[in-house]
């Protein structure tokens, strides 16, 4: 990416004004992935001085600021105590420790990257995103909308409850992107099943989720839900894996993730 000007605003409002007053401008998260693009921008806005690096535990929610790095998620004692510790478990295998020290959740979510492991687990956790101008919305809706590229992601919010999560992925090598990733969250008898790196962005497998609502929570039902998820979602082939292989993996990983949260 070619950049003519690089600024570090001191507040989110200042960043928002910069973003909307310069036609060819972009917000930089960690910068690790966006720099590989071929874009030519007049202004790159680095959010590192805007005070969005935090993980806060409130009475009913957990809030994570947009410039929080994957390594901070991985090490967070707060996050280790919720949802079976599934958020640290998910991010601990994202590339090497060096990359996790710079990759931010804001850059990942706002970039809507299909290969993202984090987006998949956050989707399964019913997470909300808070945008500076548009306010709070469900991550699911944010991912579907192509708008908001001139808005700034401030933080994400996850409800604190007794949900248990599981994350599974398949990779060709340890620090490659996932061929496919699956996240399942269970709250009592309700299940969220998200599948990402299809290679498209993570999406909820709603038919499989509906099936699980009335299931007997056994291995047969988990396998059946895996088949339903594999049949309802769209997969594609790329240099990492074929469409058919991803579909097979989806079925198996959904079953395994369901079995894990049924324990």
């Amino acid at each position: 990416m070619i950049i003519n000007r690089y600024e570090k605003p001191n507040s989110v409002q200042e960043a928002y004004e910069m973003l909307n007053s310069t036609p060819k401008s972009v917000v930089i998260g960690g910068g690790a992935y966006i720099r590989l693009g071929k874009r030519h921008v007049d202004l790159a806005i680095d959010m590192c001085n805007t005070g969005l690096n935090f993980i806060h535990e409130n009475k009913k929610t957990i809030e994570i600021g947009a410039t929080t790095t994957f390594r901070q998620l991985e090490k967070s004692e707060i996050l280790k105590n919720y949802y079976g510790g599934v958020i640290p478990i998910t991010v601990k295998d994202v590339m090497g420790v060096q990359m996790r020290n710079i990759v931010s959740i804001g850059g990942t979510i706002h970039g809507r990257y299909g290969f993202s492991d984090l987006i998949t687990i956050l989707l399964a956790l019913d997470c909300s995103v808070v945008l500076h101008k548009s306010g709070e919305m469900y991550l699911e809706n944010f991912l579907k909308e192509k708008a908001n590229h001139k808005d700034i992601l401030e933080k994400i919010i996850i409800q604190k409850d007794n949900r248990i999560g599981s994350f599974m992925s398949m990779k060709n090598t340890a620090n490659d992107f996932s061929i496919i990733n699956v996240a399942v969250c269970r709250k009592n008898k309700s299940y969220n099943i998200a599948v990402g790196s299809r290679p498209g962005i993570a999406i909820l497998a709603t038919k499989a989720m509906n099936y699980m609502e009335s299931s007997n929570m056994n291995e047969y039902d988990a396998a059946k839900a895996g088949e339903i998820a594999a049949n309802e979602l769209i997969f594609a082939g790329d240099l990492r894996a074929s469409k058919e292989y991803r579909k097979e993996l989806c079925s198996v990983l959904v079953k395994r993730a369901l079995m894990e949260v049924m324990k």
């Binding site: 690089y6 930089i28 960690g30 690790a32 590989l36 390594r71 090497g96 420790v97 060096q98 710079i102």
Partner: protein
């Protein structure tokens, strides 16, 4: 644009391009221990310590380093030599291209983790690739280095 950075303990004021990566900045001021490898943050040869934490300098904009502390092998020679000796003794230092990155990641690990287990070491070093040797020798060398540090 100009940035002020502390590099290896010394304050520097450096002229950079807005889209310049930290790797290029460090190399152009003569810190050539910082190597260019994959250029996508996957191989670890460009590792530097950013406020004490290992990062891939190929994937970090130089402008981000404004006001921060950067350490390369040139600024950690005593510890790097200790680590290098263990790597040499275990026969894993062959072409040597990956060694500065390995040494800085190991250094970052010793500062971040109090008493790393074998699993901790393997996990921490996933982002450092070596194409000369396998990683068993590295693991032996690191364990011996940590033992010596205790």
């Amino acid at each position: 644009m100009k940035i002020d950075i502390v590099i290896n303990g010394g304050q520097r004021n450096i002229d950079i391009e807005p889209d310049e990566m930290l790797l290029d900045t460090l190399r152009k001021i003569g810190l050539v221990s910082v190597k260019r490898g994959c250029d996508t943050g996957s191989c670890g040869v460009c590792t530097v310590l950013f406020d004490g934490y290992p990062i891939p300098s190929c994937s970090c904009y130089a402008a981000k380093a404004q006001g921060h502390n950067i350490t390369t092998i040139e600024g950690a020679q005593k510890e790097a030599l200790e680590i290098a000796q263990f790597l040499v003794d275990e026969g894993v230092d062959q072409c040597g291209y990956c060694s500065p990155g390995f040494a800085l990641t190991i250094l970052g690990m010793t500062r971040e983790l109090k008493d790393p287990t074998e699993e901790d070491i393997k996990h921490y070093l996933v982002g450092n690739l070596c194409r000369c040797s396998g990683y068993v020798g590295h693991l032996r060398a690191i364990k011996k280095f940590l033992e010596m540090k205790r």
